[in-house]
Amino acid sequence: MENKRKYVIPGDLVTTGPFRPEQNVILEGNKIISTSIGISEIYDDSVRVIPLTGKYIPKIDDLVIGKVLSHTSLSWELDINSCYVGFLPAQDVFGRDFSAHADELASKLKTGDLVAARIANFDRTRDPLITISDRDLGKIDSGTLVKISPSKVPRLIGKRGTMIQTIEMATDAAITIGQNGWVVVSCESHEGLLKAKKAIQMVNEKAHVANLTDQVKKMLESKSES
């Protein structure tokens, strides 16, 4: 599948010809130009650049980890590590028959709580609408929050989840990865928790290194022997 990967910076020519510009590229005449620092990938009919830096931009259906910033009598506001705040309406939690004077929002989610949520709707005119009414979503009761760069989330997951499976299997930890770069790790043993955290930080720092899965595996194994 090696499709001519190349390191690019903004302004670099990725390719010329009849390609469809996708993420992080623009069309100037017949030239396709990168707009980010990243790795360019050319497919049969489209071109895109995988960015190596940048803030999280919400996308519909993304799983994110949010932190409750505040609430009004009708909704919560969540910090989702983006340039926009997540908007979680009270109906989403209390159901259709929510009434502002009968239900107290703080009884369900308090400021500072961590929440696993999904981006229900987002466009450029409004702040992202968030939902927690789904399986595996909602308030996170236990675990440690690890923050990594959002552009390195795909690397942490790995090809078909290989990287995250490696870490989870070696440490017995349960890891929830938000697309916004916030990761919650929970583990029975203290040792496993530390090791999983270290592995995640390692991926964050060495995301551009080839064969990272093997390196992570080696690190995890070497620690468990000692």
Binding site: K6, Y7, I9, P10, G11, D12, L13, N24, I26, E28, I33, T35, S36, I37, P51, L52, T53, G54, K55, I57, C83, Y84, V85, R124, T125, S151, H208, V209, A210
Partner: protein, 244 residues
Amino acid sequence: MGGREATMVLLDENGIRCDGRKIDETRKITIKAGVLKNADGSAYIEFGDNKILVGIFGPRDVHPKHMSDTDTGILRVRYHMEPFSVTERKNPAPSRREIEISKVIKEALEPAVMLEKFPRTAVDVFIEVLQADGGTRCAALSAASVALADAGIPMRDLVAACASGKVADTIVLDVNNEEDQAGQADMPIGYMPNLKKITLLQLDGILTPEEYKKCVEVGVNGCKIVYELQKKALTDKYFGNGSD
């Protein structure tokens, strides 16, 4: 700084300038990307004796709210000189000159950044001049564009900047402080090398139409030299120990 003579030959008969450079030579330039941990993006540039640090925040919420634009993100630039950046202490309050340079740099960066992707947000650019020696606006602009790329702000192209000018009746590249004071003209140029577009052009002094054309040409060539170094700074940070 300080140690240079007050009376000097700006250009000798061999075409060597007061600091030993040829007429088409820039000062020594080093750029480093990602030097600050807490900023979203940053860069440090040494442009001869100029030392400038740039930090970027954003895209982030706009405060005060009324400044935000529902169609696009906004760019805010603060160019600031440290009190110790010049020989006589400079009052740290923003001067008329600093406010102007902030505006000029902002307008030189705007054609490159694609903030329409982030409506209702702001990108803040903080430029701190630690040491000044003529041509700070060009050095600051070059560093700011590296820092913006480091922050992951989508950009059409990097903006490279370099000055050219007229000293002792000759068009020279990269005017330093002495040449700026004693020379005849100074022309800072900001340039997008891949799009071949000029984003900043100022001129202080008098040039004939021929000299003007020559001056722009020399300045643009200088920008291309700066661009290679900007590119190197970013590749070193992001692809440093990887293979290409």
